[in-house]
């Protein structure tokens, strides 16, 4: 697309061309001859006079003059040829470091977010950044992540894409662990004027965070063994499990205090017996799934500004359990009615499932970046130090378990800014060549003007010579 830095110059050239055209329209034409026997006594001169007829005179000269003016106007307007920008491009920074709980979640979130984007680019980052051709991340690396390196690669790719796309967005899909958030993140964010969105995924267990649990407190409080759930939990959990309280009663202040101190409170109220449930239900938590005659119960909604993260779903996608961060710990609400008869709750598949409810909060949320801090950084205003508090929730666009922490900045305006900053240097070449063309045309115009005048003089001389010969 041709853009002009000074379009008024081209307009001025067009106006000047119109003036020249008007002057040429006042044609020099041959007037009607009148007999006069003594005409010879008038001084000889070019036989032409101004005519009111709208007739172009000296068309070639006019063409050259108009071309000179238009080319000069175009050169002074400093034209630049920029590609037409359209569509949205997204550059994904996919974290595959040791703090990622499940690499598949990262890839799934990226794929879902890539919907609607005209162009996507993938940057895998662990300790180094690598540009991918698709979302095949490969196995998780057992190394500390370096989001700064990934962001640098993503910004470089985003600048390239900004030349041809209207909107370019950098999306970071990562647990946003503190150990991966290196010091270059702020500087790199400042270099990129476009939009940045941070999508948080589940983090792996941070062994250093687990040591913060108060050792004086009983490690767990489980339902009585007469409860089928208590029996199942007793079988499922080992001695290394996190501080856990599972209550079948409504939550109390003591439960909240437990959670604030870093423990995991699982609220699993008793529901109607699922013995009468005819059709088996599928229940999925993490990478575990189980099918049984479970009863669906209404799940309590998160209150206030609390963001809930779904940790288990029914087979049709309906949330079956969610987690709400509270202090250093979390509260988990499970709306699944278990059968009181049979051994379904004692099967290994169900035991593996309920182990998911006993994992540390956030799937290992200790040691990740504070949500507000990341949001400020994504907006391009974050300058403070990293905080240790993490807020996790459900994203409407990402895979279940991924939480957006984006800055909400418009990508369209920033893409233009990026493009302007990387303006095409060929525009200067075009200006230079246009001026060279103007100079050449000026020379042609000078030669044509002299030629026309010379022809008129020769014609007058020939007429005079003919008369003298006669």
């Amino acid at each position: 697309m041709l853009t002009l830095a000074a379009p008024w110059a081209l307009a001025a050239g067009a106006v000047a061309s119109a003036v020249v055209l008007g002057l040429h329209l006042l044609a020099w034409r041959r007037p009607a001859p009148t007999p006069l026997p003594t005409a010879r006594f008038a001084p000889p001169s070019a036989v032409r006079a101004v005519s009111r007829d709208l007739r172009l005179s000296d068309r070639l000269l006019l063409l050259v003059r108009v071309a000179v003016l238009l080319l000069a106007g175009l050169a002074l307007a400093r034209p630049a040829w920029t590609p037409v920008r359209s569509g949205t491009a997204r550059v994904f920074v996919l974290d595959a470091s040791r703090r990622v709980a499940r690499v598949g979640d990262v890839a799934d979130s990226a794929r879902m977010l890539s919907a609607g984007a005209a162009t996507t680019a993938w940057v895998r980052v662990d300790s180094v950044a690598r540009l991918l051709s698709d979302t095949t991340l490969g196995p998780r690396a057992a190394v500390r992540g370096a989001l700064g390196a990934g962001l640098v690669a993503a910004v470089r790719e985003a600048v390239r894409l900004a030349r041809v796309h209207d909107t370019v967005e950098v999306v970071i899909v990562s647990p946003l662990a503190t150990e991966s958030w290196d010091a270059s993140m702020d500087a790199v964010r400042a270099q990129w004027g476009g939009a940045v969105r941070a999508i948080r995924v589940a983090a792996a267990v941070d062994s250093s965070a687990a040591t913060r649990v108060d050792g004086s407190r009983p490690p767990r409080e489980l339902p009585l063994a007469g409860d089928p759930l208590g029996a199942a939990l007793a079988l499922a959990l080992d001695s290394t499990a996190a501080s856990l309280r599972v209550t079948r009663l409504p939550l109390t202040a003591a439960d909240s205090a437990w959670a604030r101190e870093g423990g995991v409170v699982v609220s699993w109220p008793r529901t109607a017996r699922s013995d009468s449930v005819a059709a088996p239900q599928a229940l999925v938590a993490g990478d575990r799934a189980v099918i049984g005659r479970f009863a669906r119960a209404p799940i309590p909604l998160a209150t206030g500004r609390t963001i809930a993260r779904t940790i288990a779903r029914w087979g049709d996608g309906t949330p079956a359990a969610h987690e709400v961060a509270l202090g250093a710990g979390c509260l988990r609400s499970v709306a699944v009615g278990v059968p009181s008869v049979g051994d379904e709750v004692l099967r290994p598949s169900f035991l593996a499932l309920i182990r998911q409810f006993a994992t540390p909060c956030g799937g290992g949320s200790a040691g990740v970046m504070d949500t507000a801090r990341v949001a400020a950084w994504a907006r391009g205003t974050g300058t403070g130090a990293a905080a240790g508090v993490t807020s996790q929730g459900e994203s409407a666009t990402a895979r279940p378990g991924a939480a957006p922490v984006d800055g909400g900045q418009s990508g369209a305006a920033t893409a233009a800014a990026i493009t302007t900053a990387t303006a095409d240097p060929s525009s200067h070449d075009a200006e230079r060549w246009l001026l060279v063309g103007v100079a050449l045309l000026l020379a042609v115009e000078w030669w044509l003007r002299r030629r026309v005048a010379q022809l008129e003089v020769e014609r007058a001389d020939a007429t005079q010579a003919t008369r003298e010969a006669a």
Partner: protein, 290 residues
């Protein structure tokens, strides 16, 4: 055939006029102009002592008886003076295009002056120079020569351009030659031929006919073209008009002086004037009014 009525006022204006020759003529036929010969005219001019060889019949016998000396009676002879008209019928004479005033003036002057000459008994002839050929009216004294002249003039349409000087060989050398022209064609050659005639004792009258529009071209003229030479084209703007007026006046003055130096009687005639008055002025030798 008779003379058209349009010539009536002009002929009336010159009725009764005489047009004497500017010098003694050499004709032998008796006419109204003083002859170079001295003879036996009834009017006594002078006496001269008789010399041997004189005609004894010219002796004044009574004077011989009174004075006892022989005197011869001398008297001036009178002779006719052939008058020829050279009429220019080139395209430039058909100007202005609408009225053709120049051509009308030439025809009227030729008719009027021929009438004067014919009435004085002079032979009248004419040569009409046109591009299609030269019309020749033989010099005669008969009354119908006027009709013949008018007929010849009326049958010619001014067009093209032809040199008039070569036609002068048809005119007797000592005849009275009246040139009716605008002198735009071969003025130089014509003047040289006329100078030879005046040197030989001829009588040359030049009536230079110009139009008012030639003197003051109308403002409507933007491009003037010579009707005899279409290659001569001149644009007429304000500057060109001023230059034209100056150069044309200078040319007329130079031409008049040259013709007078050649011994001719030069008179500029404006085409729009009354031809009868002009003919009277020519015949009487009145000084040019303009």
């Amino acid at each position: 055939m008779s003379i058209p009525r349009e010539y009536g006022p002009t002929l009336d204006a010159v009725r009764g006029l005489t047009w004497p020759a500017r010098r003694r003529v050499s004709g032998v036929h008796t006419g109204s102009h003083l002859s170079r010969l001295r003879g036996r005219a009834p009017e006594l001019s002078e006496y001269r002592l008789y010399r041997q060889g004189d005609d004894p019949r010219q002796l004044d016998w009574k004077l011989l008886a009174r004075s006892d000396r022989a005197f011869t009676r001398l008297s001036d002879d009178r002779a006719v003076h052939p008058t020829w008209f050279l009429v220019d019928a080139s395209a430039s004479m058909a100007f202005p295009s609408a009225s053709q005033a120049k051509w009308w003036m030439a025809r009227a002057l030729a008719t009027a002056l021929a009438s004067i000459a014919q009435r004085a008994g002079d032979p009248v002839g004419a040569i009409i120079v046109a591009s299609g050929g030269t019309a020749h009216v033989r010099a005669r004294t008969r009354a119908d020569v006027l009709v013949e002249l008018v007929s010849a003039l009326g049958s010619v349409v001014p067009a093209g351009g032809a040199d008039a000087a070569p036609s002068l060989v048809l005119v007797p050398e000592r005849a009275r030659l009246v040139i009716l022209s605008d002198l735009l064609r071969d003025e130089g050659a014509l003047r040289h031929a006329a100078a030879a005639r005046t040197s030989a004792g001829g009588d040359v009258h030049v009536l230079h006919i110009v139009s008012r529009e030639e003197l003051e071209p109308p403002a409507s003229i933007a491009l003037a073209v010579d009707p005899e030479d279409p290659t001569v084209e001149r644009p007429f703007d304000a500057a060109a008009r001023a230059a034209y007026v100056a150069r044309f006046a200078e040319w007329r003055e130079t031409t008049a002086r040259a013709w007078r130096l050649a011994g001719a009687t030069y008179r500029q005639v404006q085409a729009e004037d009354d031809p009868g008055l002009v003919a009277r002025a020519v015949a009487t030798g009145a000084r040019e009014g303009r």
